[in-house]
């Protein structure tokens, strides 16, 4: 904890820069080592196995309360994808989870575990609300929303700045500080809502409703062109913003100098220092970007859906981001897919609680925890067995062909 970088699982194993670099890029090796998984297995099969394991264990819990897990899955899938409104809600949740997943993943690439996306999103909503309340009477939505977007980013980033600074300059562990900042965000927001935003004469701690001047167009019209009826689903333009953010993160991490420096710090901080990279600068920049992405999340529920600032509007989406990032292997494509899965879980889970009263919504929390457990903490459980299995299937002959192909390249 005293070192500027939280220790990753392989920190001890990869003491020098070379082995760390090769661990990250299996393709850069001259030939596939026997204990390495091929990329398709590493990035598709292994996450799939982890998710299946999480679902199997959750299924056991469903069995224990006397319900049929397969029936539950059927209801969930139909609830999430079976009709227009369900799809709309699924994609609405997906939007939140993409932002949260990206926020966690960006930090992870620098070796930082940002548990604070929840609090950063909460405070980001405060920034968006300030702008909305100040401008919604004077400006049209397309002028208000970009300013609110910037404000959400700035507030989210600001909330991430202090933990980042403490990690970079004082060596205090970012996990601990971001956890505490979640609680501090909660205390701050409750205090502000109860004492300042609350409308006179009401008991509901929420800001006044925004006018049309601070709203984000829903996608109901767009979908109706294709004959789908989204009903009351709050799906809005934010989903495109989320996809743009995903592209941005891809370009940032793998196509820019800054991203290269971030990954270097994440894989081997000692090597990064020798390469002339300032780790404290990278830590702070990374956390600012991560916090800004978390702050963006707030636009979707606050301006896109509820159109006012409410207590606890993030509702755990920031924590879902941890599961999404781990399952998506911290890659934007994986994150979008994992976010979609969790969007389906959240929407389908709501339907499920309706149809099967004994299976409550908290089932999703169990699945979420198990995904974090299997994809994150127990990632080495299935890997050795899978590696052996894959190597057994791919015959020695094929491996020789691969070697020959790699050599002639």
């Amino acid at each position: 904890m005293s070192s500027p970088i939280p220790a990753g699982p392989d920190r001890k194993a990869s003491g020098d820069g070379i082995s760390a670099a090769t661990a990250e890029k299996p393709k850069a090796l001259a030939r596939p080592a026997p204990d390495k998984l091929p990329a398709w297995a590493d990035y598709a099969l292994l996450p799939l196995i982890n998710v299946v394991a999480a679902f199997v264990v959750s299924g056991l819990a469903v069995l224990m309360v006397g319900a049929n897990p397969l029936e539950a899955v059927k209801i969930m899938v139909f609830g999430a994808l079976g009709y227009g409104e369900g799809v709309g809600f699924t994609l609405f949740y997906t939007t939140n989870f993409i932002f949260a997943g990206l926020a966690v993943a960006v930090a992870y690439h620098s070796g930082l575990f940002n548990i604070g996306a929840e609090g950063q999103a909460y405070v980001g909503g405060l920034g968006a609300t300030f702008v909305a309340l100040a401008l919604d009477h004077f400006l049209p939505w397309y002028a208000t929303v970009p300013i609110a977007l910037v404000a959400a980013c700035v507030f989210g980033a600001a909330w991430a700045f202090i933990p980042a600074w403490l990690q970079a300059r004082r060596g205090s562990h970012i996990v601990i500080t971001t956890i505490m900042f979640n609680f501090l965000a909660n205390a701050l927001m409750v205090w502000l809502l109860v004492n300042y935003f609350i409308q006179p004469g009401t008991m509901d701690p929420a800001s006044r409703p925004f006018t049309e001047g601070a709203s984000i167009p829903k996608l109901g019209g767009l979908f109706s062109l294709f004959g789908a009826d989204l009903g009351a689903a709050p799906l809005n333009l934010c989903i495109f913003l989320a996809l743009i953010a995903a592209v941005f993160v891809y370009v940032l991490i793998w196509r820019t100098k800054l991203g290269y420096e971030m990954r270097t710090v994440g894989l081997n901080p000692t090597a990064a220092v020798y390469a002339g990279i300032s780790t404290s600068r990278i830590i702070i920049i990374t956390m600012l970007i991560s916090g800004a992405l978390a702050g963006l999340l707030a636009l979707n529920p606050v301006i896109g859906d509820q159109q006012r600032l409410q207590l606890n509007f993030v509702n755990g989406a920031g924590f879902v981001g941890i599961a999404v990032a781990l399952m998506g292997r911290n890659h934007p494509v994986g994150i979008c897919l994992a976010a979609l899965l969790f969007g389906m879980l959240y929407q389908g889970g709501a339907e499920l609680a309706f149809d099967m009263p004994q299976v409550s919504r908290e089932m999703i929390l169990v699945i979420q925890g198990l995904v974090i457990l299997f994809a994150g903490a127990l990632e080495h459980m299935f890997r050795p067995g899978l590696t052996r299995a894959v190597n057994m299937i791919s015959t020695p002959q094929r491996r020789r062909m691969v070697e020959a192909g790699e050599a002639s390249r």
Binding site: M1, S2, P6, A7, G8, P9, R11, K12, A13, A61, M64, V65, F113, I115, I162, L166, R170, S172, H173, V175, I176, T177, I179, M180, F183, L184, A187, L188, V190, W191, N195, F319, I322, A323, L326, Q358, V359, S360, E362, M363, I364, L365, V366, I367, Q368, G369, L370, I372, L373, G376, A377, L378, E379, H380, M381
Partner: protein
């Protein structure tokens, strides 16, 4: 604030610090052995639920306690398997345990009992009741000493005494026994412990068993001693406060006691000051007092009041010579 208020606040402080002390000591064993434990919250919650359910089914507080400890131990061993045997990321594992515990307790609570995950109300016989020490009533009127004896020392439940005795016990174990020496060594320099022929993994598993045991008592205290039922997410962040207290106490048993008493006092005060208007200041923002433990710990972490130096090998899986 008059004398009765003062007595109330002191007693509330003792009641509210008890789970913090137990959980923070639990974290102490784990973290001094080099295993970072974010999952105190989850273990407490699982224990609280299990204790409440078993106490409700059997009508026995002691079986409830056993059930609570068992649930917490299972969680601790999952954490151990992930972070010791599989060398996974300890922080991720702890986070996962918190979510799984929060989800499972609410899920089973709702499925089995309905009522939003609340377990049945326990009768006094299925709980840890208050113990009146001999002669407490008789000396209650004696100034100072009698007052202290009858109000502060007597009249708590068994688990409160357990928590306060666990502090010197932990100090003794960690500082004065062979096990404690090895525990500290394995958290600072596992390679040296390994060289001495002691199994690093076994040491850490044993530390985590103690963590599971103490978290189990902490959770049990919440559901069947302090209250009479389990309610959804009843730990309400106390596991994290205990973690903050552990850091604030620099991973040492006696400072853990003082810190937990301070944090418990802040909690008692914030309940007491709800809606109270202090002359000159106005209404005290309760949220500010509730946030104080975190703010104090942040200030410590920033290095403004001493420096919190964690066990050196904390968070790093141990890999034998390769």
């Amino acid at each position: 604030m008059n004398a009765a208020d003062f007595l109330d606040v002191v007693n509330a402080t003792l009641r509210l610090s008890t789970p913090l002390i137990l959980a923070a000591l639990a974290g102490l064993y784990s973290e001094r052995s080099g295993i970072v434990d974010i999952g105190l919250e989850g273990k407490m919650l699982a224990a609280a639920f299990s204790a409440a359910v078993i106490a409700a089914l059997t009508g026995s507080a002691w079986l409830g306690l056993l059930g609570g400890i068992a649930a917490s131990l299972v969680m601790a061993m999952i954490h151990g398997y992930a972070s010791i045997s599989l060398r996974g990321n300890q922080v991720v594992s702890g986070v996962a345990i918190n979510f799984v515990a929060s989800g499972l307790t609410a899920f089973f609570g709702q499925a089995w009992f309905g009522e939003g995950g609340r377990t049945p109300q326990l009768p006094m016989t299925a709980r840890f009741g208050e113990i009146d020490f001999p002669g407490a009533q008789a000396v209650a009127d004696v100034p100072v000493l009698g007052l202290v004896y009858s109000h502060f020392i007597s009249g708590h439940n068994l688990l409160v005494y357990f928590a306060f005795l666990a502090v010197p016990a932990t100090w003794w174990v960690v500082q004065r026994t062979r096990f404690g020496l090895r525990l500290r060594a394995v958290g600072e320099n596992p390679a040296a412990v390994d060289t001495a022929g002691i199994s690093v993994a076994w040491m850490r598993y044993r530390a985590l068993m103690l963590t599971g045991l103490l978290c189990g008592v902490a959770g049990t205290y919440l559901s069947i001693a302090q209250s009479a039922a389990f309610t959804r997410d009843m730990t309400a962040g106390q596991g994290y406060i205990a973690l903050a207290a552990l850091i604030f106490a620099k991973w040492k048993p006696w400072p853990v006691l003082w810190t937990c008493l301070l944090f418990g006092f802040l909690d008692a005060l914030s309940i007491r000051l709800q809606g109270v208007v202090v002359p000159g200041i106005g209404a005290v923002p309760v949220q500010a007092i509730q946030a104080l433990p975190y703010i104090l710990t942040m200030i410590l972490l920033a290095g403004f009041i001493g420096k919190a130096i964690p066990p050196r090998a904390g968070g790093m899986p141990y890999v034998k010579e390769r």
